[in-house]
């Protein structure tokens, strides 16, 4: 593991085994097939394990994403060493890193949320505690899963802010694991604060009678026209997508032009925050144009809370073309000025998102076992979309894009002069 502030994933040198676009297409098809298999085994309501109840399975999907972000962006693969990352076969490396990912998820859900916070602090974080209070097992699990997955959703927005915008400032000079744990504690502290403000008030009104002594009344009701925390879910998801926009599409431009920290971090965060609200408002407006204005108290398509949620769902769909372009097609184009490159990539992503949206709602019932229709209170397109993203991240971060790409050999990586000197 390298000890400077750059990530191993950014410094690794991947060489193509095949030419583009064949290499990208084959890799994308493989990862998509793997996603469909995993979905069918674990989530599909017609499949084997059927965890997409929906919140229970969705919770694990969310935690897989944030655990992978922590592994790569916060801990830079610690405790694994550079020699392991550079030399292990991608399939073995993938298995070990994915295994570690699952262990982190299990720890965070079962130990941190269920056993620790759920037993000692907030009952809705442990379904057994809710069941003990008289709730049916099914809804106890669904309610706690929603809370736990929201913690992961907020973390997947706030955690990457520190490495991407702040360059881990002021802890950039620490070595791993000190840097990783410091940034993790700080960003997870921010996540918990954000959770208490954005999601805890949802639970004020979720239970009957209202829990007015335990949580604040949803402060967003006046302007969001709903008591549901879906208002915050929607824009927080847009925030998560914005940070990926900055990282993958914008290559951190123009924030990287600011040399001083924490100025770069602060402006970077404001950039992400503003972009999130722009995306959120734009998708709200698009929905109003498509279906007419939302109506207070209505259900399904006309429910204000569903409209907010759907902004997040639409934003998440943008991640698929964004990551496909970056991971599988080398972030094309790169030959123009940054602003032109970004404009072309954005155009591709917007068009591809529209196509994906159409295909998803047309074909997801036979393929994923979901129900037809846009608005359904028990299904969330974010679940399959994020699982697909998780599979892409496993492939890109943990498996060196095998088999379409390979890590450069030592000979390819080192300058010729170094090799001659070593041989001498």
């Amino acid at each position: 593991m390298n000890q400077n502030n750059s990530l191993w994933v950014e410094t690794r040198d991947l060489q193509p085994r095949l030419k583009q676009p064949l290499q990208g297409i084959i890799n994308l098809l493989l990862v998509t097939a793997f996603f469909l298999l995993v979905w069918w085994i674990f989530m599909d309501p017609r499949g084997i394990i059927r965890w997409y109840t929906p919140q229970y399975g969705y919770m694990y999907i969310r935690w897989i994403l944030i655990a992978a972000i922590w592994q790569v962006y916060i801990f830079n693969y610690w405790p694994f060493k550079d020699s392991f990352l550079n030399n292990k076969h991608p399939l073995i490396k993938g298995l070990i890193l994915i295994g570690s990912n699952i262990v982190i998820v299990a720890f965070m859900v079962w130990v941190f949320c269920y056993a620790f916070l759920g037993n000692l602090s907030i009952p809705y974080l442990n379904p057994k505690v809710l069941t003990g209070l008289g709730m049916t097992e099914f809804f106890a699990r669904e309610y706690s899963s929603l809370a736990i997955l929201m913690m992961a959703a907020i973390a997947s927005w706030l955690s990457p802010v520190w490495p991407v915008c702040f360059d881990n400032h002021p802890w950039q000079n620490l070595t791993q694991p000190a840097r990783g744990f410091t940034v993790w504690v700080w960003t997870f502290f921010l996540t918990l604060i954000a959770f208490l403000i954005l999601m805890h008030p949802h639970y004020h009104v979720l239970f009957y009678p209202w829990q007015e002594y335990a949580a604040a009344y949803p402060w967003w009701y006046g302007f969001a026209r709903t008591l549901s925390g879906n208002f915050n879910v929607g824009w927080v998801m847009c925030g998560t997508v914005s940070i990926w926009f900055l990282e993958l599409v914008f290559d951190r431009y123009p924030i990287r032009l600011i040399k001083k920290q924490p100025l770069r971090g602060i402006i970077g965060f404001l950039f992400v925050f503003t972009m999130a609200w722009l995306i959120f408002f734009a998708f709200l407006f698009l929905q109003d144009v498509s279906w007419g204005p939302a109506v207070e108290g209505a259900k399904r398509l006309y429910a204000p809370d569903w409209r907010h949620l759907h902004c997040g769902e639409l934003a998440c769909m943008m991640l698929i073309p964004m990551m496909t372009l970056h991971f599988y097609f080398d972030n094309w184009p790169k030959k123009y000025s940054p602003s032109i490159n970004i404009a072309i990539r954005c155009a591709i992503i917007f068009i591809a998102t529209g196509i994906l949206h159409y295909l998803y709602y047309k074909y997801s019932p036979p393929i994923l076992g979901t129900q037809p229709g846009y608005s359904h209170p028990q299904q969330f397109p974010m679940a399959p979309v994020i699982l697909w993203i998780n599979m892409m991240l496993y492939h890109y971060w943990f498996m060196d894009m095998y088999p379409g790409k390979r890590l450069a050999t030592r000979k390819e990586r080192l300058p010729v002069s170094n090799l001659i000197a070593e041989e001498a």
Partner: protein, 361 residues
């Protein structure tokens, strides 16, 4: 990318910020909204008028043990699993009907026209055939069916508790005209023909021989003078799709809406009626399941509905079944005109209309 001066960066930031601000303001401004969002339609379909309604609750007890029903769904894989694939508990339920957890939903709607004549509509046909048949006998529905007094069976949607007791109706009148919403699955049509589904303990031994009409969605279907139905393309739990509701235009009163489960949402339904039916802004009554907290679960979205329902000026509400007791309590607390029941024939509480209760509008 080369270095850039602070001045250039700030210039870029100012331009970007300004464009971003106008983009955000633009998409949410009144000017943009007025230009792009079509104005709300005013209802134009004239369905005529009728005089009065008598609504008899035959059974609103769809299941007897809520925790067991939820457990069946949990074990099967959650709320999206196909209802025909779930092995519903049908034995050993102490508070059930002869040990079976299945009950059902069925209501008789009698409409009186301006000339004094009447028609009877059977809204839904329960789940457990034996329970539904017992309720039919209690209310004299068996004889009405056998005598041809009931004009049609109006199936609100394909859910187990509203449709699977079809044999209870067909055994008395196999040729009754049936109206189902668009979205019925093949299993539903097969059940009408006499199919058996052992996995979910479902059977119909009396094939339907009468007319069957599938009601297209998003249209107003005029049934009789002052009576219409509307079908919604609505995805529902356990893989059901589509639901229809009845709308009555009562002379000198206003509109009354009678629902089976109202998965489309009562406010969504009333808003749709407003935009399609003439006089649709004058609501008088609603009756039936409102599908708010059927499993005594809750969601803040339901509070949105409870708080917004005041705006529709309803004079009387005969909600029951999947409305949920928690919802009814909230309705009563904020002063909505919920009609009380008598808590008899296995209906658990009198907070809303229960089995055997009648509402006259």
């Amino acid at each position: 990318m080369s270095d850039i001066s602070r001045r250039e960066f700030l210039k870029g930031l100012a331009v970007g910020g300004t464009v971003g601000y106008f983009a955000m303001a633009g998409v949410s401004s009144t000017v943009m909204r007025n230009s792009f969002i079509p104005p709300a339609k005013v209802g134009a379909v004239d369905i005529g008028e009728c005089k009065s309604l008598k609504i008899k609750v035959i059974t609103e007890t769809s299941w007897f043990n809520n925790a067991l029903l939820m457990d069946d769904m949990k074990k099967a894989g959650g709320l999206l699993v196909n209802q025909y694939e779930i092995p519903w508990t049908n034995k050993g339920v102490t508070e059930g009907w002869k040990g079976d957890n299945a009950g059902g939903y069925a209501t008789l709607v009698e409409v009186e026209f301006l000339d004094g004549s009447t028609k009877k509509i059977l809204l839904d046909t329960g789940w457990n055939v034996d329970w539904t048949d017992t309720c039919f006998k209690r209310e004299g529905i068996d004889k009405m069916l056998a005598n041809g007094e009931i004009d049609c069976l109006f199936v609100s949607h394909e859910h187990f508790d509203h449709f699977w007791g079809i044999e209870a109706t067909l055994k008395y009148r196999p040729d009754i005209p049936i109206l189902v919403p668009k979205g019925f699955y093949q299993e539903g049509f097969d059940l009408l023909k006499g199919a058996n589904f052992p996995k979910c303990h479902l059977a119909n031994n009396v094939p339907h021989t009468g007319p069957l009409k599938v009601q297209e969605s998003e249209k107003v279907h005029k049934l009789y003078p002052g009576v219409a139905s509307i079908t919604f393309d609505v995805p529902i739990i356990t893989r059901v799709f589509g639901e229809q509701a009845l709308v009555f235009n009562l002379k000198d009163k206003g509109l009354a809406i009678v629902t089976g489960c109202c998965h489309m949402g009562i406010i969504s339904l009333m808003e749709h009626v407003k935009q399609t039916i003439k006089g649709g802004d004058n609501f008088y009554a609603i009756q039936g399941g409102l599908h708010i907290s059927p499993f005594e679960d809750w969601d803040p979205q339901y509070d949105d509905l409870v708080l917004a329902l005041h705006n529709y000026g309803l004079k009387t509400m005969g909600c029951n079944h999947c409305t949920g007791y928690v919802t009814a309590e909230k309705f009563v607390t904020i002063g909505l005109p919920v009609v009380k029941g008598t808590a008899q024939h296995k209906s658990k509480r009198d907070i809303f209309l229960g089995n055997g209760d009648m509402m006259i509008i």
